[in-house]
């Protein structure tokens, strides 16, 4: 008689495998001539249920690839990277890297970055609820020493930089119909995904803005982050940046950096 651990692991091996279950496993099932079919209900449910969770997270990828191709890729992904967490909320973390490594998809080089955007959307959706800076706090900003302040972006924020127009691609696939044709000649795009309140917002920003936000998120002062933004984007305009982003919920905390020299 097999110990429970061995039986359950054998069951899991059969569940995850692309090949039919082993005769040893089938021999553990009560014989009515349908052991294979009965086991396959579980094997099929495993890839379908977890594949459905991926489809929920990646609706644009599914639309770009078509339902059938998406199902095949999702099945392969579920078998390669089964869920490691008890909750399925963020299942599919490695799907973008997985897509980037599929040779048959090399003609769709933007796919992985669109997947990164979609993952960021769900991650932002389930992120911590934190109140953004209000008008009063911003009005109380000291007029001097601005560059030594540390301005923390909202914890739901994700920054994605792509060589492809992923914002336009994502946006065009939000409605019921896709009429627009997007040319890859549009060039790269920088996208911020953030949930300051209830709704997740997807915003296209300038390259310098993305660099600034990433630096601020890593704890740099406004002065240091500005230097990085200008290095990335010579035309970066800090005043325009603040005019747009100081009141749109991007930031949640303001701190005076202690003088360190």
């Amino acid at each position: 008689m097999k110990p429970l651990s061995e039986l359950q692991q054998m069951f899991c091996d059969g569940l995850r495998s692309a090949a039919p279950p082993s005769p040893v496993l089938l021999n553990e099932i009560v014989d009515d001539g349908l052991q294979l079919e009965r086991f396959n209900v579980y094997r099929n449910n495993f890839v379908v249920l977890n594949g459905d969770a991926l489809a929920d997270m990646y609706p644009v990828i599914k639309r770009l690839l078509g339902a059938e191709a998406f199902r095949l890729l999702a099945t392969a992904y579920v078998r390669d990277f089964p869920p490691m967490d008890r909750a399925l909320l963020l299942y599919g973390e490695r799907f973008a890297d997985f897509l980037a490594a599929v040779p048959e998809l090399s003609g769709l080089p933007y796919l992985a970055d669109v997947a990164r955007l979609e993952y960021a959307w769900t991650a932002a959706y389930h992120a911590d609820d934190v109140v953004s800076l209000g008008q009063h706090q911003i009005a109380a900003l000291p007029p001097d020493g601005f560059e030594n302040l540390s301005l923390r972006p909202h914890p739901s924020m994700h920054c994605i930089s792509s060589d492809y127009p992923i914002y336009s691609i994502w946006l065009a696939n939000q409605g019921e119909q896709m009429e627009e044709t997007i040319s890859l000649d549009e060039g790269g795009s920088q996208v911020v995904v953030i949930r300051p309140k209830v709704e997740v917002e997807v915003r296209e920003v300038f390259p310098g803005s993305l660099a600034l936000l990433q630096s601020l998120a890593s704890g740099e002062t406004i002065g240091a982050a500005y230097a990085q933004a200008v290095e990335m984007d010579a035309e970066f305009d800090l005043q325009a940046f603040f005019a747009r982003h100081l009141f749109d919920g991007t930031f949640c905390e303001l701190q005076n950096q202690p003088v360190t020299d």
């Binding site: 008689m1 097999k2 110990p3 429970l4 651990s5 039986l7 359950q8 692991q9 069951f11 899991c12 569940l15 021999n27 553990e28 099932i29 009560v30 014989d31 009515d32 349908l34 052991q35 079919e37 009965r38 086991f39 209900v41 579980y42 449910n45 495993f46 249920l49 977890n50 969770a53 089964p82 869920p83 490691m84 967490d85 008890r86 909750a87 399925l88 909320l89 963020l90 959706y125 389930h126 992120a127 911590d128 609820d129 934190v130 949930r195 209830v198």
Partner: protein
Amino acid sequence: MKETSSNSVAAPVPRRAGAGLKPKHYQAIIEQQPDIGWFEVHPENYMGRGGPPLSYLERIRMDYPLSLHSVGTSLGSHLPLDITHLKNLKALVERFQPGLVSEHLSWSHGYEWYTHDLMPLIYTEESLKLIVEHIDQVQEFLGRTILIENPSSYLQFRQSEIPEQIFYVEAARRSGAGLLLDINNVFVSCSNHGWSVAEYIAAVPHEMVAEIHLAGHSIQDLQGTRLRIDDHGSPVCAEVWQLYQSYIEANGALPTLIEWDSNIPEFPELYAEVRFAEEFIYRAGESRHEATL
């Protein structure tokens, strides 16, 4: 039931019909305030750090009693329980003060990864001891009694030596847990394995049952053999309604959940199904008494 937290009071789940709460129905429920006795959710769907699902649940919990029906504890697994998961579950229990907490007679991980589907148990004394230990551990951790649900299954293991209904009742009896009787699962499993529904239900002591589940299932044809698949994707079938009616007429009304987890309809269709169950409860003549597990 003893409260473990005094911040707020758990609303008991009434002996009425309730519905599985689905994100696509949040708005309709908040706007229409339908006359539904209670709602049930899978706590695993609310284990994010924040976000709209938790806010909606908080809003809906203000108006309705709640039941947490866990799918991720993996009580029957040979691996130890995951303490992080138990902590997450306890945090939700403290925050939302559910009237009932339940989990399945099943397992979902054999390795470090999760199947996210309910796997069939082997019914042996070894496996019974293990699941009793795990139920004890969960109850102790949460500081409250939980309910155990009978599974639906598509295969039986040759090593099994205890009939499922005996194993199910014994697991609860030894751990002091209550029972969640899923009548659709009884019908599906009995049909798939050629067991007697009447014998199954007769073996389950009604005084241990604190909640009933009802759902739809589909039928798959395997070379002429009909296999019933518990997909929760359609209305409850006539045979299951009939079993339900006889059960509550004989044993009195119980909190009864309509589960609809795939091909989820618009809210009015789910509501109609809940009202239909409620009619049986009225007819059984015992509505609006509170469950007192």
